[in-house]
């Protein structure tokens, strides 16, 4: 019994440290890469390239930066920028709502994805499903957001009729 228990503890410690090693190999370069991406202006560049995403999700161009930052650097960073942007750029409630739906389903794609891949998950499944579901989720959020006064004017169907 005593030996059995020591074996179990050693098994557990070994599994823990092996896992930690796999994770550490991913995390250290990743954190450096995220800082480089933030300071090099890559986020702003990506935001410029992703304008069509704003159209797809029906959000203003101002809401795109917090979305991109949250997507790559994490929910806390994205939310921080979202809070500031809400004050400065007067983001509508709908914008904030759609960005929050998107980011709550999909954020810090590098860190989360690589951590889970490090313990054996399939990368394309993990990344693909999350981004796809976030896009679908926020498109539905945009579609069904209750917006009585402004919403009617913005509906594509109404514009089409005119």
């Amino acid at each position: 019994m005593g030996f059995f228990f020591i074996d179990t503890v050693l098994d557990g410690l070994q599994a823990g440290f092996m896992g930690l090693k796999n994770i550490a190999v991913v995390v250290l370069p990743l954190m450096v890469a995220v800082e480089l991406a933030k300071d090099s202006g890559l986020m702003e560049w990506a935001t410029g390239k992703l304008q069509s995403l704003a159209v797809l999700l029906q959000i203003s161009k101002e809401s795109l930066l917090p979305l991109v930052v949250g997507l790559f650097a994490g929910l806390a960073f994205g939310s921080g920028i979202l809070i500031n942007a809400s004050k400065e750029a007067q983001l509508s409630k709908k914008d904030r709502y759609i960005v929050a739906v998107f980011l709550s389903l999909c954020h810090s794609v590098f860190e989360d994805t690589l951590l889970l891949t490090a313990v054996g998950a399939s990368l394309p499944w993990l990344l693909g499903s999350r981004i796809l579901l976030a896009v679908i989720g926020s498109m539905l959020a945009a579609r069904f957001f209750p917006e009585p006064a402004l919403g009617v004017q913005n509906k594509p169907a109404e514009q089409g009729r005119v």
Binding site: I23, A24, L36, S104, A121, L133
Partner: protein, 139 residues
């Protein structure tokens, strides 16, 4: 602009994250291994087996899901490390956990942007379970 400080910040964040991880991953993996090998986890798992089998997962995996939903991905990873799972099962769990994790802390963070956290949490749980079913079916 990239300066020396950028690299220092990155390395600092990396080391801090690894330290935070070490504090969680090693003890949780150890605890779950002990629970598993003493058979206690099996008692809990037996009850959840019918539910988890819908996702192609063993009953023990419920622990990873619950811990991931309410605590964080790191602790859930520690549980995954202690269990014997196939690549498909790990992918199902990973997709579910990627979509829905750390609900309490992240709920508080998103609430600061003025969006109600409860509907978002329910959305994440719902989408996470649907995605798990989908990946188990399609993988």
């Amino acid at each position: 602009m990239i300066t020396r400080q950028t690299w220092i910040n990155g390395l600092k964040n990396g080391i801090e994250t690894i330290w935070e991880l070490a504090k969680v991953v090693v003890p949780v993996t150890l605890a779950v291994t002990v629970l598993k090998e003493t058979g206690w986890l099996g008692l809990l798992a037996g009850r959840l087996e019918p539910l988890m089998s819908l996702l192609g997962l063993p009953g023990e995996a419920a622990l990873a899901v619950v811990i991931g939903y309410f605590l964080n991905i790191y602790s859930a990873i520690a549980v995954i490390l202690a269990l014997d799972l196939t690549a498909q099962q790990i992918t199902v769990l990973a997709v579910m956990l990627g979509i829905c994790h750390n609900l309490l802390v992240e709920g508080a963070v998103t609430a600061k942007t003025g969006v109600k956290p409860l509907p978002l949490a329910l959305l994440r749980i719902g989408v996470s379970i649907l995605a798990g079913l989908g990946v188990n079916w399609a993988f």
